[in-house]
C-alpha cells in the first residue's frame, strides 16, 4: 500500500515538474558527422523547446542498430511522436510497424526509407533538383540576356546531390542560349577540391577571361574557388560571379565581403515543418502529404549576409 502511494506520488512529482501536458517527442539522429547535421540537431532542440515539447534525443553514432534500439525504446516509453533521420534506406519495416501498431506517428527527416509510406506520417526534406534550379534561375536573372560562360564545380561523382543539383541547374538555363556551361568537373564537395579544379579552369580559359560565372554544388567548393580566383589576380563576385548551394555560415562572410554573390539554402531546420505537421495532425487529424518539401531560399548580397552569418554561426556548423 505504502509502496503504491510512493509510486503514485513520484509519478505526480514527475508530471508537475516536467510540465503537465508536455508532449514527449523522441528524436533518433544519425550522428554528428557534419556541421550541417550538428546544426540540424541544435535547431531541432531549439524548435522543441520553443513549442514546449519534451525532446528525448538519441545520437546513433552512425549505426542503424542503435537507431532501431532507440526507436523501440521510444515506443516502450510511449512517446507521442518520433522523429527519425535514418542512416540508411533499408531495414526499417519491422520497427516502423511496431511504432505504427502503438499508434505513434513517425516523421522522417531529410532522408528517405524504402519502407511502404503508410508506415510513417510524412517525410520532411529538400528537393535537390529544385535547389539547382533556384541557383540557375538566379544566374539567368542576374546576367539578364548577356552572354555568360559558366564553370561548374560538381559534387562527388555519382552522389545524388551532385546528380540532382546538376540536373536542376541545367533545367533552369535550358531555354537561355546566352548561358552555357563550358567547364564542368568534380571538386568532391571539398574546399581544396574546389580550389584545385578552379585553378585548372582559370588556366584553361585564358587566365579567367573566358569565364563569367562559377556554379558550385556546395558552398565549400565555392569558397575554394574564390581563393583560386583571388590568387589569379581577379575579383571574385565582380569579374567572376559565384553562386553555390547549402548556405553554411562561412559563405555569408564571403557574400558580405562581396566575394560571393548568392547561395541557396539547404535548411537544417527540418524539425520546424515536422512539428507543424504534427500539431495539425494532433489538433484535428489533418493528414499531411507524404513529402513536405522544405524551402530552398536564395540569399544574395541584398539579404543582410552579415546578419545571416551571425544567426548561423552558433548552430554547430
Amino acid at each position: 500500500m505504502t509502496y503504491k502511494t510512493f509510486l503514485a506520488s513520484t509519478a505526480i512529482v514527475a508530471l508537475t515538474t516536467g510540465g503537465a501536458f508536455a508532449q514527449v517527442i523522441g528524436f533518433s539522429q544519425i550522428g554528428s558527422e557534419s556541421g550541417w547535421r550538428a546544426a540540424e540537431t541544435t535547431l531541432t532542440r531549439m524548435e522543441a523547446e520553443e513549442r514546449g515539447y519534451d525532446l528525448r534525443f538519441s545520437d546513433a553514432q552512425q549505426r542503424q542498430e542503435n537507431q532501431i534500439a532507440a526507436i523501440r525504446s521510444f515506443v516502450a516509453q510511449g512517446v507521442d511522436a518520433i522523429l527519425l533521420a535514418p542512416v540508411v534506406e533499408t531495414g526499417w519495416d519491422a520497427v516502423l510497424e511496431e511504432a505504427a501498431e502503438a499508434e505513434i506517428p513517425v516523421i522522417l527527416l531529410d532522408r528517405m526509407v524504402d519502407s511502404s509510406d503508410d508506415l510513417y506520417l510524412t517525410a520532411v526534406g529538400s528537393d535537390l533538383v529544385h535547389e539547382g534550379a533556384v541557383a540557375g534561375q538566379w544566374l539567368v536573372d542576374t546576367v539578364a540576356g548577356e552572354d555568360c560562360r559558366v564553370a561548374e564545380l560538381q559534387g562527388t561523382t555519382g552522389s545524388s546531390p551532385a546528380i540532382d543539383r546538376k540536373t536542376g541547374f541545367e533545367q533552369a538555363i535550358a531555354d537561355h542560349d546566352n548561358i552555357e556551361i563550358v567547364r564542368s568537373q568534380t571538386g568532391d564537395f571539398t574546399r581544396s577540391g574546389g580550389k584545385t579544379v578552379m585553378e585548372g579552369f582559370l588556366q584553361a580559359e585564358g587566365g579567367g577571361a573566358g569565364i563569367c560565372a562559377v556554379y558550385a554544388h556546395n558552398d565549400d567548393m565555392a569558397l575554394g574557388a574564390i581563393q583560386a580566383i583571388n590568387e589569379a589576380g581577379l575579383k571574385p563576385g565582380e569579374d567572376i560571379l559565384v553562386v553555390s548551394i547549402d548556405a553554411v555560415p562561412d559563405v555569408f562572410l564571403a557574400i558580405a565581403n562581396g566575394e560571393a554573390n548568392a547561395t541557396v539554402e539547404l535548411t537544417p531546420n527540418m524539425a520546424g515543418p515536422a512539428f507543424d505537421a504534427l500539431e495539425a495532425y494532433w489538433a484535428d487529424g489533418t493528414v499531411p502529404p507524404k513529402f513536405i518539401q522544405t524551402e530552398s531560399t536564395l540569399y544574395t548580397q541584398a539579404d543582410d549576409p552579415q546578419g545571416e552569418y551571425d544567426t548561423r554561426k552558433d548552430l554547430g556548423y
Binding site: L7, T10, A11, G26, D54, L55, R56, F57, S58, D59, A60, Q61, Q62, R63, Q64, E65, N66, I68, A69, A70, R72, S73, F74, V75, A76, Q77, G78, V88, E89, T90, G91, W92, D93, A94, E98, A102, D114
Partner: protein, 324 residues
C-alpha cells in the same frame, strides 16, 4: 579457491541488479514486458556473437573478425536471395559453412604460424569487411516472404514482444553453457586458457582444438549475421562496425578473465543484458549524450580488469603463505 573464481560472476550479477534498481527508481515505467522483449531482441545478435567470443577468450585468444563477419553475412544473404531463387534456409546453411570454414582457417593459421589470434583475426576482419563491400556497397533489402515468418513474435501480456531472434539468443546461451561446462571440448578450452603447459599436461591436441575454437566463433558470427539480417531485414556492408569490441566488453563485464582460463557463459549473458540496459536507460532519459553508453561500459570494463588483477594478486599471496 572456488569462491575467488566465482567472485567476478557475483560482481557481474550485483552490477546488473544495481543497474536494475537505479532504472526502477528513476523510470518505474521501464519495467514492462515491452522493454524486456526489446532487451532480448535488440541484443540478440550481440549475445550470440558474445557466446563465440566467450569461448575464444576463455581459451586465451581473441577474435576481432566477428563484426565484419556479421556484416558480410547480412550482405551475402541479401545478395544471394535477391539474385537467386534459393530458399533462405539453404542460404543460411551455405553461409554458416562459409563463416565456420573462415573461422577454422584463421584457427589453423594461429596454430600453424604460432601467431597471436589478435593478428590473424585482424587480417580476417579486413578480409571479411572487404568481401562484404565486394558483394554490394549499397544496402540491399531482403524481401523474401519467409522473412516474415522469421520476424514473427509471441505477444506477451503488456504488449511486449518475445521475438524469434530473442528466443534464438536464449537457446544459443543454453547451448553455449552446455558446451563450455559439460563437454570435453569445453574442458580443453579452459585448459588452453590456463596456459599451454597445462593444456599439454592434460593431453589436449592443440592444433585441433585451436581450429575448433575459432571455427566455433566463426559459426556464431555467421548465426549472429543471420539474426542481424532478420533484425534489420536487409544487408549492409557498413553494419556492425566495432561489434567485436562490444562483444569483448560484454565478455569482460560478464566476469571472464581477459587472459583466459576463468569465467562463465552465464556471466556473458548478464554482461550483454547490462550493456543493453545502459543503452535503454540513456534513451529513456533522453537528455544524456548517447556517448555515455560508451563511457559507462569503459568504466565497467576497467573495473573488472582491476577486480581480476586484485583477485590474482590475492590468490598469489595466498599461495605464498601456503608455501611458507
Amino acid at each position: 579457491m572456488t569462491n575467488a573464481r566465482l567472485l567476478p560472476l557475483f560482481a557481474t550479477i550485483a552490477i546488473f541488479m544495481l543497474a536494475l534498481v537505479i532504472c526502477f527508481i528513476q523510470f518505474p515505467n521501464m519495467f514492462s514486458t515491452r522493454v524486456l522483449g526489446n532487451l532480448l531482441t535488440d541484443n540478440a545478435y550481440l549475445g550470440i556473437v558474445a557466446v563465440g567470443m566467450t569461448v575464444v577468450i576463455l581459451a586465451g585468444g581473441i577474435d576481432l573478425s566477428v563484426g565484419s563477419v556479421i556484416a558480410f553475412s547480412g550482405v551475402f544473404i541479401a545478395v544471394v536471395l535477391r539474385d537467386t531463387g534459393l530458399h533462405p534456409m539453404v542460404v543460411f546453411a551455405m553461409l554458416l559453412a562459409i563463416t565456420t570454414a573462415f573461422g577454422a582457417a584463421m584457427g589453423g593459421l594461429v596454430h600453424a604460424l604460432v601467431m597471436p589470434g589478435f593478428i590473424v583475426t585482424l587480417a580476417g576482419m579486413f578480409l571479411a569487411r572487404g568481401a562484404a563491400y565486394m558483394l554490394s556497397i549499397d544496402s540491399v533489402p531482403i524481401q523474401h516472404e519467409f522473412y516474415d515468418v522469421l520476424q514473427s513474435y509471441i505477444l506477451l501480456p503488456g504488449r511486449g514482444r518475445l521475438t524469434l531472434i530473442g528466443i534464438t539468443m536464449l537457446v544459443v546461451f543454453v547451448i553455449g553453457m552446455l558446451i563450455v561446462h559439460k563437454t570435453r571440448f569445453g574442458t580443453a578450452v579452459y585448459a588452453f586458457g590456463g596456459g599451454e603447459a597445462t593444456a599439454r599436461l592434460m593431453g589436449v591436441r592443440q592444433g585441433r582444438v585451436t581450429v575448433m575454437i575459432y571455427a566455433f566463433s566463426g559459426f556464431m558470427a555467421g548465426l549472429s549475421g543471420i539474426v542481424f539480417s532478420i533484425y534489420t531485414g536487409s544487408g549492409y556492408s557498413l553494419a556492425t562496425v566495432g561489434t567485436e569490441l562490444t562483444a569483448i566488453a560484454a565478455v569482460v563485464i560478464g566476469g571472464t578473465l581477459l587472459t583466459g582460463g576463468a569465467g562463465y557463459m552465464f556471466g556473458t549473458f548478464i554482461g550483454v543484458l547490462t550493456m543493453g540496459l545502459i543503452q535503454v536507460y540513456i534513451v529513456f532519459d533522453g537528455t544524456l549524450s548517447s556517448w555515455w553508453t560508451k563511457i559507462v561500459i569503459g568504466a565497467l570494463v576497467l573495473a573488472f580488469i582491476l577486480l581480476q588483477k586484485a583477485l590474482l594478486h590475492l590468490a598469489r599471496r595466498g599461495n605464498e603463505v601456503a608455501y611458507a
